[in-house]
């Protein structure tokens, strides 16, 4: 694998805007979508990344069982009120679409950094924008990216189990709304009828005990790009739980009237994703699979014997609150202050570094299967919301 520099397409801004990427440039004028470089892989390297993604997904599934069997949700700062709903959702398997494993890969070892399982973004960039970049610049090369096809296929599978329309919701950020709109686009292409609604526009009808849209129509299915941990801490959090098993009774879904414990409202992603998007998962994975080649040592009670490690808040987002310690010295972020939710302490991973950039490889799963990759680059050791997206190809 190697990082190569190249000339961006002359009209790259127009080209990426044409496929929906309106947030291609950061506030300081530097490109977020950065096609002045790309990463090149061999087919064998992509095979390894794909296999690692599938293996990590299996480990995460096993970890989910252990977290629930051993009542570990409280260790993860997950509210007690949500425990029964998480357990019910895990067992009844309501629809789940996507997730992104963030991997460290230096050409030798592949290590899991974290699992963005509930609200991953960078999807449009990975599925669409880099696909068009490849078509324009390297049409004979291949790319680890069947995201678009797999998303449409998954929505087609779900068509018989969802009410119509399917609502697509996000907060107010442009990036989230574009991501949701792209997801909605793939659902439309699967033949679904869809509607957009902002999270703050969602209504709760206290007489009918259901969520309603702006026309006060009952919402039966929603794809939300909005974290469950935020929802549960908001005024409608308890209402959301009341739409889920065990509070919500057995329902009939689809033309065959399948009876399932999915609740009166289908929430995609499902509430059990709180277990995987929580960074305590990393410690559970290491505890269950000590020494596994794809995992880094990770602990909840402190760094133990690690002299070089990353301290991550359990519910941290986009690099927030992260501290990097190298040989006992803080080299990024800060260890000052305490976070009520707690931290995970994870060993430093060997990262891909080139041209002053550190790269993280976001490996996507659709319906639990490896489906593509997006690469984020940072000048420092922490990937955050200003880290640029760089395309890739392989031969």
């Amino acid at each position: 694998m190697r990082r190569l520099t190249t000339n961006p397409r002359a009209d790259w801004q127009k080209r990426v805007e044409k496929v929906g990427l309106t947030y291609h440039t950061l506030a300081d004028g530097t490109p977020y979508w950065d096609e002045s470089a790309y990463w090149e892989f061999s087919s064998a390297e992509i095979d390894r990344l794909e296999a690692a993604t599938a293996e990590l997904q299996m480990l995460a599934l096993a970890a989910g069982d252990v977290i629930l069997d051993q009542d570990r949700l409280s260790q993860m700062s997950i509210p007690k009120a949500a425990a029964a709903a998480i357990r019910a959702a895990w067992n009844s398997e309501p629809p789940a679409i996507y997730g992104r494993l963030d991997l460290a890969y230096d050409g030798n070892s592949i290590k899991l950094l974290e699992y963005n399982a509930d609200t991953p973004t960078g999807l449009l960039e990975a599925a669409v924008v880099q696909w068009y970049w490849l078509k324009d610049c390297f049409p004979k090369s291949d790319q680890f990216n069947s995201l678009h096809e797999k998303l449409i296929a998954k929505w087609k599978d779900l068509k018989e189990y969802t009410t119509s329309p399917v609502y697509f919701a996000a907060g107010s950020s442009e990036e989230d709304n574009i991501t949701v709109s792209y997801m909605r686009d793939t659902a439309e292409q699967a033949g679904m009828h869809t509607r957009h609604i902002s999270m703050h526009q969602i209504g709760w009808d206290s007489k009918r005990r259901c969520f309603v849209d702006l026309d006060n129509k009952v919402m039966g299915t929603i794809f939300k790009l909005y974290p469950w941990e935020w929802m549960l801490n908001e005024p409608f959090g308890q209402n959301a739980l009341s739409t889920l098993p065990p509070d919500s009774p057995l329902q009939e879904y689809g033309p065959r009237k399948d009876r399932r414990m999915w609740g009166s409202m289908l929430w995609i992603e499902p509430i059990w994703k709180m277990m995987w998007s929580n960074k305590a998962l990393l410690a559970t994975l290491w505890e269950l699979n000590p020494g596994h080649e794809l995992l880094l040592p990770a602990y909840l009670d402190g760094p133990r014997n690690l002299s070089s490690y990353v301290r991550k808040p359990l519910l941290g987002r986009e690099g927030g609150g992260i501290a990097v310690v190298q040989e006992g010295k803080v080299v990024a972020g800060s260890l000052d202050g305490e976070n009520a939710q707690g931290y995970v302490y994870q060993a430093l991973a060997p990262m891909a570094k080139a041209d002053g950039k550190t790269a993280v490889f976001g490996s996507w799963l659709i319906d639990g299967e490896p489906a593509g990759m997006g690469i984020r680059e940072s000048s420092g050791p922490i990937t955050n919301n200003t880290s640029s997206f760089v395309p890739h190809l392989f031969h």
Partner: protein
């Protein structure tokens, strides 16, 4: 080949241009007992403050809003008023 054969978009380009064109209804900021609060209480995320849509009141802080079983604004207050939920 590991890449998608075709990547067509049917909706996204037009949606990207229209994201700011949201519908609005008459909204009132109320407390847990449906009593009117100043709008700033909902904007700053004060405890229990939320919007209800529809219904009517005398228009003064402390008045009860009646006539709507639907409340809105119970989601979307995190991340600086519903900011980046994605990561």
């Amino acid at each position: 080949m590991r890449k998608s054969r075709e990547v067509h978009l049917v909706l996204l380009a037009s949606v990207a241009l229209s994201l700011t064109a949201c519908r609005d209804e008459q909204q009132n900021c109320v407390d847990a007992n449906n009593r009117l609060l100043p709008p700033s209480a909902c904007q700053t995320g004060s405890s229990g403050a939320h919007y209800v849509y529809g219904g009517s009141s005398g228009g003064n802080v402390g008045d009860t809003v009646v006539g709507s079983s639907v409340t809105r604004g119970g989601f979307g207050s995190f991340g600086g008023g519903g900011g980046d939920g994605g990561e």
